[in-house]
């Protein structure tokens, strides 16, 4: 069978194609957010969409995160399928009350009456020297909230395919796009379409140690695995993809195979998503562990501006490899 037709694309273009497909296929869908229209999106994801779909469905908003995120929730309650873009997770703190107390809570609190079929997209993570207030990685906070789902597309296929599946979900879904991924380039199938958003994926097979990560740190983790291979250590790399709910089955299956685990998470270590994954391992795979579960996270500091300090603060491939060697012992 000939290989499927492949096309060259970037993470940004894949996400844009996903938004365009959704706007074309479902008239209830509209995009709302700061500078998504005439500016073409802070990270140029929605470039050209205003010209194609008009101001009614590509709505620039004032800098009023609580109001437009809340309006997205209200519109979803009234039957629309909004895509709300919060420029970065750093500004989402201003809308946290609407996301937690309304979006995540209404269905349960109303006894099942108020569905909120809303997708919120936001950029996350550090690495571009934009200093402390613009470099947060707070996915872990949102994964704490029952009532919403949280996704982290790390590959071109996921950037292209997660949005449509998320829009079909009757409950709110948050999609975190790591800022360093937009320029990721590669080939994907020409007819690439919706993907499952429930399970993790094994991005690299291995039997000696499980490296578990998501989003912006997948690349560093894969290069750490290459370094380990040179030493004869075969690392298995797991891409979580869904941060809530976590795909425990895939995670524990890998730990049962390798008996050692290193979790890579750009969030701060204390109370992070990596802490939750680690806790579940001691609960579900305790007797499989032959070494303490290791974690490679950001240093617990406000992200510094200078490049050398930012790199020192962030998880890096070398540190991941060191942690893995220690676990293998």
């Amino acid at each position: 069978m000939t290989t499927a037709q492949q096309v060259k694309t970037t993470y940004r273009e894949a996400m844009r194609a996903a938004i365009r497909e959704a706007l074309q296929k479902d008239e209830r869908v509209f995009l709302m957010g700061e500078d998504v229209g005439s500016y073409g999106g802070c990270f140029a994801v929605s470039l050209g969409l205003l010209e194609e779909f008009g101001p009614e469905r590509i709505r620039d908003t004032p800098l009023s995160e609580s109001a437009f995120v809340g309006a997205g929730i209200g519109a979803a309650m009234a039957g629309m399928r909004p895509i709300v873009e919060i420029m970065t997770v750093n500004f989402s703190l201003l809308a946290l009350d609407q996301i937690l107390n309304n979006a995540a809570t209404l269905l349960h609190m109303s006894g099942g009456q108020c569905n909120v079929p809303l997708v919120i997209r936001m950029t996350t993570g550090a690495g571009r020297q934009v200093a402390a207030q613009h470099s947060h990685s707070l996915e872990g906070w949102y994964t704490h909230i029952p009532g919403i789902k949280v996704l982290a597309p790390a590959t071109l296929e996921d950037a292209r395919g997660m949005l449509w599946t998320a829009l079909q979900d009757p409950d709110p879904v948050l999609i975190f796009e790591h800022g360093s991924l937009y320029n990721l380039q590669g080939m994907i199938a020409a007819d690439a379409g919706p993907v499952d958003i429930r399970s993790a994926r094994v991005r690299r097979e291995g039997g000696d140690v499980s490296l578990i990560t998501y989003g912006g740190t997948l690349g560093k983790t894969l290069s750490a695995a290459d370094q380990l291979a040179a030493d004869g250590i075969e690392a298995e790399v797991i891409d979580l993809r869904s941060l809530r709910p976590l795909d425990d089955v895939t995670i524990m299956a890998s730990v049962a195979k390798t008996h050692r685990a290193v979790i890579v998470d750009e969030g701060w270590r204390t109370g992070s998503l990596s802490a939750e994954v680690c806790a579940r391992m001691t609960e579900q795979a305790f007797y499989e562990l032959d070494a303490p579960v290791a974690r490679v996270c950001s240093a617990e500091v406000p992200m510094p501006y200078p490049r050398h300090l930012e790199e020192a603060a962030l998880p890096q491939a070398e540190r991941i490899a060191v942690a893995a060697r220690e676990a293998v012992g």
Binding site: H259, Y287, E288, L289, D290, A291, P292, E326, G329
Partner: protein, 484 residues
């Protein structure tokens, strides 16, 4: 008749105090009239009547604090019918003006509900209670020596000292805890490898899966030529679950070879040596012994075991232990501790059992409350203790609170054993082998199964007279096994 009850005046209110009654018996009240002022934890609130009628009786007086729902006053309903204040009629309010109370701080969220009163415990001052908590002493187990039975600080200090001393008993003194990964522990179980004998090469000298598999391999290939330690030295006290430490392990533990089983036996020997030496140095032992006719006991035992399944059968040792324990209840002078130059009798008989470990070493875990246990229960406790002692799964509490100890070397074939007391206890009973002996019965020679029981006792705590009375008590009990 309607009740006016203490109203629930807020999400976090359990009780209220009557600040002021605005009515008196006989007064007429209407639905909605304020008839009392209630003080809650946060503020004074007007409380209204929910019915119309005449005040019958004020049940709770001013200044009294009562839980929500308590009847405060009774109202005979149905005074001259006057419908609720009809809308349109001018509002009537006859409540006299009340001086405003000082502004109470009012947080938007209600505080947590205050914890309820604790259960009644022996009177103990808060400071002493805190001291007890710091020293890990359970006040419930203490008998206060203070006025009216109150527990004084001295009681706590003594109990703590006692606990520390008990913990220092030779048998109880464990070697260092071994660090084992959960995976290695599971594999060791599957291959039934004794963890104590495994050399750990994992992080911080911990035992990993590969270490266990290597140990299992060497065992299968026949007796090792090298000087590896005799296997089976019971891991002292329960091996603690592996402690996850982020930091590098301190230098002392990080020396290349973990402590081998031989080292562990040597350290146990040293601990026993120290304690025995101290016992001989400090305790003026006196010894008495007696020969006990075991005929009725053994006959009774044989009959009883005949119908029982193997698992329920008793061994002679069970009868002997029970007799030792019951007699100790009747002769308290042998059951307790010698401390601070005085003897304090123990409340119950926790019978220490000297258990020899294969390949050397000795543990004396205690059967708790042995004096009051049924024979079957005593037997199963004994079996359980022996199995756990030899597999290193004893709890530290079991190793530290024996009040009298018995050593039974009958199985090893000796006829009588005169042991050394374990301080701070004051007595040790020795049991020999049950053997057939020619005995004069009514002037005639007969052959009877007998056993020699000895007592080593602390002459500071008791005299020979008491020791002898104790042994004869044991002997008498064994003549009526059915009563044990």
């Amino acid at each position: 008749m309607a009740d006016f009850r203490m109203p629930a005046l807020g999400a976090d209110m359990d009780e209220g105090t009557i600040l002021e009654w605005l009515v008196k018996p006989g007064d007429q009240v209407h639905k909605g009239d304020v008839i009392a002022v209630i003080d809650t934890a946060k503020a004074a609130i007007d409380a209204e009547s929910f019915c119309t009628g005449n005040i019958e009786q004020l049940v709770i007086g001013v200044g009294q604090t009562v839980p929500v729902g308590t009847v405060l006053a009774t109202i005979t309903e149905g005074a001259p019918p006057r419908a609720q204040r009809a809308p349109g009629a001018p509002p009537v309010r006859k409540k006299p003006e009340r001086p405003p109370r000082p502004k109470a701080p009012r947080k938007r969220e209600p505080e947590g509900v205050a914890a309820g009163p604790g259960q009644p415990t022996p009177t103990i001052s808060p400071l002493t209670r805190q001291r007890a908590r710091d020293l890990g002493v359970d006040v419930a187990t203490l008998r206060g020596s203070g006025r009216g039975g109150s527990i004084t600080r001295a009681d706590v200090e003594r109990a703590a000292a006692q606990q520390r001393k008990a913990a220092a008993k030779p048998a109880g003194q464990p070697g260092r805890r071994i660090r084992v990964s959960p995976r290695a522990r599971r594999v060791a179980e599957e291959l039934s490898v004794a963890l104590a004998s495994v050399h750990g090469t994992g992080p911080g000298g911990s035992v990993t899966e590969s270490d266990v598999r290597r140990a299992a391999l060497t065992r299968e290939t026949g007796p090792p030529s090298g000087g590896t330690a005799p296997a089976g030295v019971a891991a002292p006290a329960e091996a603690a679950p592996q402690r996850v430490t982020g930091q590098r392990p301190p230098a002392a533990i990080a020396e290349p070879a973990a402590r081998s089983a031989a080292e562990r036996t040597r350290s146990m020997r040293q601990a026993i040596a120290r304690l025995m030496a101290r016992s001989k140095r400090e305790i003026p032992h006196y010894y008495v012994s007696t020969t006990i006719d075991m005929t009725s006991s053994l006959n009774w035992l044989r009959e009883r075991n005949r119908e029982l399944e193997v698992s329920e059968r008793l061994v002679p040792a069970a009868l002997l232990l029970k007799a030792v324990a019951v007699a100790a209840r009747q002769v308290p002078a042998v059951n307790g501790y010698w401390e601070d130059d005085q003897f304090s009798p123990a409340a119950a008989v926790h019978l220490g059992l000297a258990i020899s470990l294969r390949g050397g070493g000795l543990l004396t875990p205690a059967i708790q409350g042995a004096g009051t246990l049924g024979l079957a229960e005593l037997m199963s406790r004994m079996r359980d203790l022996v199995i756990r002692a030899r597999s290193g799964r004893l709890r530290s509490s079991e190793l530290t609170n024996a009040t009298i100890t018995v050593t039974n070397l009958g199985d090893q074939g000796v006829e009588s054993v005169y042991g050394v007391i374990y301080p701070p206890q004051v007595a040790l009973v020795g049991i020999g082998k049950i053997i057939e002996r020619p005995v004069a019965i009514g002037g005639l020679i007969g052959v009877r199964p007998v056993v020699v029981a000895t007592l080593s006792a602390d002459h500071r705590a008791s005299d020979g007279y008491t020791g002898a009375r104790y042994l004869t008590e044991i002997s008498d009990l064994l003549q009526r096994p059915e009563d044990l």
